[in-house]
């Protein structure tokens, strides 16, 4: 294939260079009904799962059909989305903050055809292309990260765990039977490139083996002081190592007892890889939230310390998630988020009702704030 120049001249990078122009301005992309009624919306209603109407002061309405989707998306699929938007929505669409696709029409009469069109499209393998849902007191799309598709530090895959999970909870994507919205998030390492630290249920990839030491290359590829400084527990020290070749090189030593497998050293230094088939796997967290509704935002708590990477469908992980969801659905009150429920019934009951074992790993031992998670009271349930 022949090189096609964009016009860029590597010899004169500054020639005609355009920079700092930012994103497109939002209002270029507003559908007319949005542009006209912005700031004048009166109320909304969820007509059925995935279908919202917003009504404006003057009486204008906008109907939104929300569809799930894998956020890893080929241009072919985007073109198909465009085709649908052109057919039904005058060429406008949007994505939500959780990567659902929203098709909007300005009249109720246009909804049915759109719905039908969307619901009918499937991939060759049989899965939906555009499942409608993700609204109200149900489960919406999972925000997630790169996993084995693109990143260098994951302890699990992102797209795979998400697909496996969404398949399991799919009926709740298309139903609104839960006490409140339930938000699942996924991050493939504890850099947590998705707000899994504040999600109702969080899937987290985690390493469990301290870094390997690639002594031969360490000093060549890394700045040793940076690697040392990166370790939150001070587990890394400088050292000298005699290589089999007889050469003595500068390197580092890791105090494995002090390592909590965060991978921060590896972020700074490629000669400290952690990944390991047996060591890596899944941590499940639960009970976080972001909204300020009723209760203040909450961090998610670790409720399962480790599950292995059972590819391709992580059955133990999805089973555990299901168990939590069903216990929550059965027991929580209307409007009660998962974390609010756990706090009301007490975490001791949470483990009981979700049939999860409580292991020592779940007791915080990280620095001073750990103390605040222990129980300084005689109030507890038998």
């Amino acid at each position: 294939m022949a090189f096609i120049s964009s016009g860029y001249d590597p010899k004169e990078p500054m020639k005609n260079r355009i920079t700092d122009i930012g994103p497109k301005k939002f209002d270029e992309f507003y559908p007319p009904v949005i542009a006209k009624n912005k700031g004048k919306w009166l109320y909304h209603e969820i007509l059925e799962p995935g279908i919202l109407v917003h009504v404006a002061e003057g009486g204008d309405e906008v109907y939104t059909v929300r569809c799930g989707g894998a956020r890893i998306m080929t241009t072919s699929l985007i073109r198909e989305i465009c085709e649908i938007a052109e057919k039904h929505c005058d060429g406008y669409l949007r994505f939500t903050t959780r990567n659902n696709i929203e098709f909007m029409v300005d009249d109720k009469s246009k909804v049915d055809a759109l719905k039908k069109d969307l619901a009918g499209r499937k991939f060759a393998g049989g899965s939906f292309k555009f499942p409608i849902g993700g609204t109200g007191a149900g489960i919406t799309n999972i925000v997630h990260t790169q996993g084995w598709i693109h990143c260098h530090t994951p302890a699990t895959d992102a797209s795979g765990t998400v697909k496996a999970t969404m398949d399991e909870v799919f009926s709740d994507f298309q139903n609104m039977r839960l006490p409140a919205p339930l938000r699942i998030s996924m991050a493939c390492c504890l850099n947590m490139c998705g707000a899994v630290h504040c999600s109702d249920i969080a899937i987290l990839g985690y390493h469990r083996k301290p870094p390997m030491l690639d002594h031969e290359y360490l000093d060549k590829l890394c700045e040793i002081p940076l690697a040392i400084a990166a370790c939150p527990t001070g587990a890394i020290k400088p050292t000298k190592v005699d290589l089999p070749s007889g050469e003595t090189v500068k390197s580092v030593a890791v105090n494995n007892e002090r390592c909590m497998f965060c991978g921060n050293c590896y972020t700074m230094c490629p000669s400290l890889p952690l990944a390991d088939k047996d060591g890596d796997g899944i941590v499940l967290m639960a009970g976080g939230k972001v909204s300020n509704r009723i209760s203040e935002p909450k961090f998610s708590k670790v409720v399962v310390a480790f599950l292995p990477n059972e590819v391709p469908r992580w059955p133990q992980m999805t089973d555990t998630i299901k168990k939590m969801i069903e216990a929550y659905a059965a027991d929580a009150k209307k409007y009660e988020r998962l974390g609010e429920w756990a706090e009301r019934i007490g975490w001791e009951r949470f483990f009981e009702k979700c049939e999860l074992p409580f292991t020592h790993h779940l007791i915080d031992d990280f620095r001073d704030p750990a103390y605040y998670t222990w129980r300084q009271s005689t109030q507890f349930k038998f």
Binding site: Y8, P23, A70, K163, L178, N292
Partner: protein, 437 residues
């Protein structure tokens, strides 16, 4: 016929949820056929090799991407994440597989024209694979080779009037909720503020002058639909100061069952008839509501604007008129010291163009962080390290009990010398005259 067998991945084609494997496999086939005769500027088997390397990861339980390399476009400190495969011989199509972050528009509204232009560009010069969208909000172009980075950038800027987003120790691409564009709860125009600040701070977005990354996110109200309180070094969350507006007739309609509670969000189960006392009044976190004689009353002075009652009865209750936003600072993921949520710095600020007051806060925060922040120290960590009091001092914001959920329980106050009468210089010999050893 695919280049690599993917028996494990193939199992992810079944089930109802959209299968990325099916999507990728279709794309791989399309690229192999290349019916439109595109002069692919990167290996045409890039998608096949991506599937191949992913299958390998599924098999051996580890990633096959090398530690990020330093690549980018000239003059920008971010926007590109370098990525190389650690099995380039087996998967040459993804030997280079860099991502480019394309700054998304506010509210993530699109025209198909725009999206198709992006697709054309990316089919030609990249893998044809994207993330719609990355966790920060960018459109992610997933996978291209080093030589194509400048080409893509040139086309983006010249043909599409579109810039890259942030990465590295920069201001990251700011993101907002849909806000006033389609939400009755929005207390300010999230898109307008997001856009204005994004444009004002292009320099900070593209040219690192920061110790580490910095994120802005804009939530129109305390519901927090862009999760700013969890994921932004600076979160702008809409709120109001005056009274919630009550339409008593609409209240009656909810009580009478004419309007569905919470706009129908709970329709998937029979929760019984709507009970305003149990579902609204009793759940108000401050107990500041009363429903008596068919009339709903709110003691607004005690309301903490949690949104619950409004969410339950959107046709009856409306946010107030004296609108603005709260600024919270320091949210971040767990590395290094544990996760943080945003801490309230400015309880209320008006949100009016040209947003000078807001920018003043931002710039004072940055000045401090740039001066004092260590390498790879997020704002939240700096605040923890030097103290919230220091943050107030540097931003010249008056202390306010609203900033804390409770006052300190330790008396370990670092008094300053000038606050204490007589200063700190004392003469031990003078002291010893009155206090023998």
């Amino acid at each position: 016929m695919m280049k690599h067998e993917t028996p494990l991945l193939d199992q992810l084609e079944s089930g109802p949820w959209p299968s990325f494997v099916s999507d990728l496999k279709a794309e791989a086939e399309k690229r192999a056929k290349n019916e439109e005769n595109i002069e692919f500027q990167i290996p045409s088997d890039v998608v096949e090799d991506l599937l191949g390397v992913l299958e390998l990861s599924f098999k051996d339980g580890t990633t096959h991407w090398k530690h990020g390399g330093i690549v980018g476009v000239f003059g920008y400190g971010g926007g590109v994440i370098g990525r190389y495969c650690d099995q380039p011989n087996a998967f040459p199509g993804v030997a280079h597989f860099h991502t480019m972050r394309v700054a998304q528009p506010g509210g993530k509204f699109y025209t198909t024209k725009y999206l198709k232009d992006l697709c054309d560009l990316w089919d030609l010069r990249g893998s044809g694979i994207t993330n719609m969208h990355g966790s920060t909000g960018d459109i992610i172009f997933l996978g291209t080779t080093t030589p194509q980075l400048e080409e893509v950038f040139f086309e983006l800027t010249h043909r599409m009037g579109q810039d890259l987003g942030g990465s590295g120790s920069n201001l990251r691409t700011p993101a907002d909720c849909i806000g006033q564009a389609r939400c009755e709860y929005a207390c300010y125009d999230t898109q307008a503020l997001c856009y204005d600040l994004t444009m004002e701070y292009q320099d900070e977005l593209h040219r690192p002058a920061f110790p580490y990354k910095f994120k802005f996110k804009f939530d129109g109200c305390p519901n927090g639909c862009v999760a700013s309180i969890a994921r932004a070094d600076m979160s702008f969350i809409g709120t109001w100061k005056d009274d919630i507006k009550i339409d008593q007739e609409a209240v009656a309609a909810y009580v009478g069952g004419e309007f569905p509670s919470n706009a129908g969000a709970h329709a998937g189960r029979d929760w019984g008839a709507f009970d305003i006392q149990k579902e609204v009044v009793d759940l108000c976190p401050t107990n500041c509501m009363k429903y008596e004689g068919g009339k709903l009353e709110i003691n607004n002075r005690e309301c903490v604007r949690c949104m619950h009652c409004i969410n339950v009865m959107p046709r009856a209750l409306k946010i107030g008129d004296d609108k603005g936003l709260s600024i919270l600072v320091g949210a971040k993921a767990p590395i290094l010291d544990g996760a943080q949520m945003g801490s309230l710095l400015v309880p209320f600020i008006k949100c009016e163009e040209p947003y000078d007051e807001i920018k003043e806060v931002i710039e004072k925060v940055w000045d401090w962080w740039m001066e004092e922040g260590k390498n790879r120290e997020r704002l939240g960590e700096l605040i923890k390290r030097q103290g919230f009091q220091k943050l107030l001092e540097m931003t010249e914001i008056d202390p306010d009990p609203r900033m804390v959920s409770e006052p300190r329980s330790n008396p370990y106050i670092f008094w300053k010398e000038e606050e204490v009468e007589g200063g700190w210089d004392r003469d031990i010999n003078e002291f010893r005259k009155h206090h023998l050893r």
